[in-house]
């Protein structure tokens, strides 16, 4: 494909992706501010009514998960556009539906006072005890439906483009190389393999999510329609688990595409890489019962499966992505900048966060730790330092000028990186320490004995917010420069 053709189909979408990342960055910053306020309130530094706390917690959860998905989708779209011809109209449709969904969710929480958490766990939305009206819960779930439909369009566009270019999802996953006679040189690029896997499992997750959302909406409007609570919980956690994992697996594409630009070594689709992504495809779908280890009525085999696959889930991540990155970085001499530093930090954060997650995925540990702050501890490590790190690494790369490329990391870059890394590590460590001390999660009001960790976490969170806010402003100003990306 000539450069002109390349530019022709990439340019409008690059602009859309930049806009997506600007929206994502701004919402990340806003949601982090809400997080700081909640931690300060738990630490007794602010006086907040519990009902407002739960509205903020709902907004923070839904906002962060949605924005992680949005930023991951932006990254995947940008780099997949290097390999296949993507439809800009479909992306506009996705973005429009996503923003409509966000409006519904914000109206639901801030106007309708919905505080039923981002997991909308059945039958909580319909049982508010007067805290919110049914319309607020309905608006929240309709917001999810809009976002889900938007993502469905997104994955349709991705799936059609991949199948058209690579001849089936099986070939796009590289199965003709691993299970067929094709040579490894015929394997698709890592971006395509990752995009194909994410498209499969997240489409499945969204379809299941859409079904349970409509069922919950029907129950909300006609309470006589009673959903099997265990089935609804399984469907919700399948959808939620798959969706949030997909956000990281989409964002990691930035690592596959950008790290080689620094090291000069192409990220190869080896047989191990292909097998790892096929394993990820299966594990992401099958591991969700580890969220239900406290539900004694679940079939025992599902809980055992959840625990065993939790162990296995770390292998493709740690052994392939993290290890491969270390190999590619080893011996490569290049000038570190904010983008490369954030991307490497993000893979480290993702890998480190997987360890307490695997620990929590054991039945005996989960029985003690499930309702403690250990859980937000581990998911904040791989989402805050991992997914958010990848997103801001990509954003820093998008607006990097030629002069910055030559000078490497400036003093401000170092300050922002240190602030983000130290703040993120300290903030998540406070969650883990609190979890180890059996401090419950999701409580609006904390006992004075727990204030120390809450207050330290607030200070660390402020460091993160400073870094993120500054990076968003720098990104917005950087967009006005012509970076030719």
């Amino acid at each position: 494909m000539s450069q002109a053709e390349n530019t022709k189909h990439l340019t409008p979408q690059a602009g859309l992706v930049k806009l997506t990342m600007l929206i994502s960055g701004a919402v990340f910053a806003l949601m982090m501010l809400i997080g700081v306020v909640m931690r300060a309130s738990q630490g007794g530094l602010l006086d907040m009514e519990p009902d407002l706390f739960y509205q903020l917690l709902t907004t923070h959860g839904a906002g962060m998960v949605g924005t992680a998905g949005l930023s991951g989708a932006g990254i995947m779209w940008y780099f997949l556009g290097r390999h296949v011809n993507l439809s800009a109209k479909m992306y506009i449709g996705f973005l429009a539906l996503f923003l409509i969904g966000v409006v519904f969710i914000l109206v639901s929480t801030f106007v309708g006072h919905f505080g039923g958490m981002w997991t909308f766990l059945y039958p909580l939305p319909a049982m508010s005890a007067g805290a919110w009206e049914p319309w607020a819960a309905a608006a929240f779930m309709l917001g999810y439906v809009f976002i889900g439909v938007g993502f469905l369009l997104y994955y349709l566009a991705v799936g059609v483009a991949i199948i058209k270019k690579y001849g089936g999802l099986g070939r796009a996953l590289g199965w003709h190389v691993v299970f067929g006679k094709a040579d490894v040189t015929e394997a698709p690029p890592p971006t395509v393999i990752a995009a194909a896997a994410v498209t499969i499992f997240n489409t499945l997750g969204i379809v299941v999510g859409a079904a349970v959302l409509v069922a919950s909406l029907v129950n909300l409007l006609v309470p006589g329609f009673v959903v099997d609570a265990l089935l609804a919980k399984n469907m919700i956690f399948f959808f939620g688990h798959v969706f949030i994992n997909a956000s990281i697996y989409m964002a990691v594409i930035a690592v596959y595409e950008l790290i080689p630009e620094y090291t000069g070594k192409k990220w190869k689709s080896s047989k191990a890489f292909i097998l790892a992504w096929s394993a990820i495809l299966l594990f992401v779908i099958a591991v969700y019962p580890h969220h239900l280890l406290q539900d004694m009525v679940m079939p025992a085999w599902m809980l055992v499966m959840g625990q065993i696959i939790s162990y296995l889930s770390g292998v493709p991540l740690l052994a392939v992505t993290a290890f491969s990155m270390c190999v590619y970085l080893h011996g490569s001499k290049f000038k570190w900048d904010l983008a490369s530093s954030l991307l490497v930090l993000a893979v480290a954060g993702w890998s480190i966060g997987a360890i307490p997650a695997i620990i929590d995925g054991m039945v005996v540990v989960n029985q003690v730790m499930h309702n403690t702050q250990w859980v937000p501890g581990h998911f904040h490590i791989y989402l805050l330092i991992g997914e958010v790190g990848m997103s801001f690494g990509f954003m820093a790369w998008l607006v990097k000028s030629k002069s910055q490329k030559q000078s490497g990391m400036g003093a401000m870059d170092k300050l922002l990186l240190t602030s983000f890394a130290a703040g993120g590590a300290g903030f998540t460590l406070m969650f883990l320490v609190s979890g180890a001390l059996s401090v419950p999660r999701r409580w609006a009001v904390h006992m004075p004995e727990w204030f120390l960790q809450d207050r330290l976490a607030t200070i660390f969170a402020l460091l993160v917010v400073f870094s993120i806010l500054t990076q968003v402003i720098r990104y917005a100003t950087g967009l006005s420069r012509n970076t030719a990306k």
């Binding site: 479909m90 199948i163 089936g168 409509v214 069922a215 959903v227």
Partner: protein, 211 residues
């Protein structure tokens, strides 16, 4: 303009015409069977919704294929519009109120026996392959979700959704919808993993093999 749009396009026109006549005869026989046995087919919601209604749509598809053995020279935009009209007709006949009404009102019954073959069966037969692949994929994914939702509605409804049918029949229909959703998921998704026949190293030659 209509005549040119429906003009024959290939040399084996005669063979296609023969197949077309066969399809029209088959459609007429099938329609006759459905009319004669309609009371038996309408006896339970499962046979009514899973056998009679799809069979009526199939009658329309056969008739359309028979009348226009060479297909229709239809633009993608028009195909999208026809497909959307068919989907709206499906939505209409998904409403239990109209299923009930068709059992008690001859006019609604007549509407069922005409609108489903013409708008749903005939419409989709002529437009589906020319419809935008994104729209087709979206409708297929939506069909799976909606079958899941219908399965839930019919299984957990606290009341009889159709006045003409028993609650136990209603629950059985819910289970059947779930089974159809599972079967369709496999039927539609498995080919996506296989390499299409028209694939070469430059990619697919048409969009039609995608969904």
């Amino acid at each position: 303009m209509i005549l040119t749009a429906f003009s024959p396009r290939s040399a084996n026109h005669k063979v296609r015409t023969r197949y077309g006549i066969l399809a029209i005869i088959s459609a007429c026989i099938l329609l006759l069977i459905l009319v004669v046995f309609r009371r038996a087919l309408e006896a339970t919601p499962a046979t009514h919704m899973v056998l009679l209604l799809p069979a009526l749509a199939y009658v329309g598809a056969l008739f359309a294929k028979g009348m226009l053995p060479n297909g229709v020279n239809i633009s993608e935009a028009n195909a999208n519009a026809v497909t959307c009209a068919s989907v709206w007709a499906i939505f209409f006949w998904m409403l239990p109120r109209y299923i009930d009404a068709s059992l008690v009102s001859p006019w609604v019954d007549l509407l069922k026996f005409t609108s489903i073959p013409i708008i749903i069966g005939g419409g989709l037969a002529l437009s589906w392959r020319k419809t935008n692949p994104y729209l087709r994929g979206f409708l297929q994914a939506n069909a799976l979700s909606m079958l899941g939702v219908l399965a839930f509605l019919y299984t957990y409804a606290p009341v009889r959704i159709c006045n003409s049918y028993l609650v136990s029949d209603q629950k059985a229909l819910g289970g059947i919808f779930l089974g159809i959703a599972a079967a369709l998921s496999i039927y539609w998704c498995l080919p996506l993993f296989l390499c299409p026949k028209n694939f070469n190293k430059k990619g697919l030659s048409t969009n039609n093999a995608i969904t």
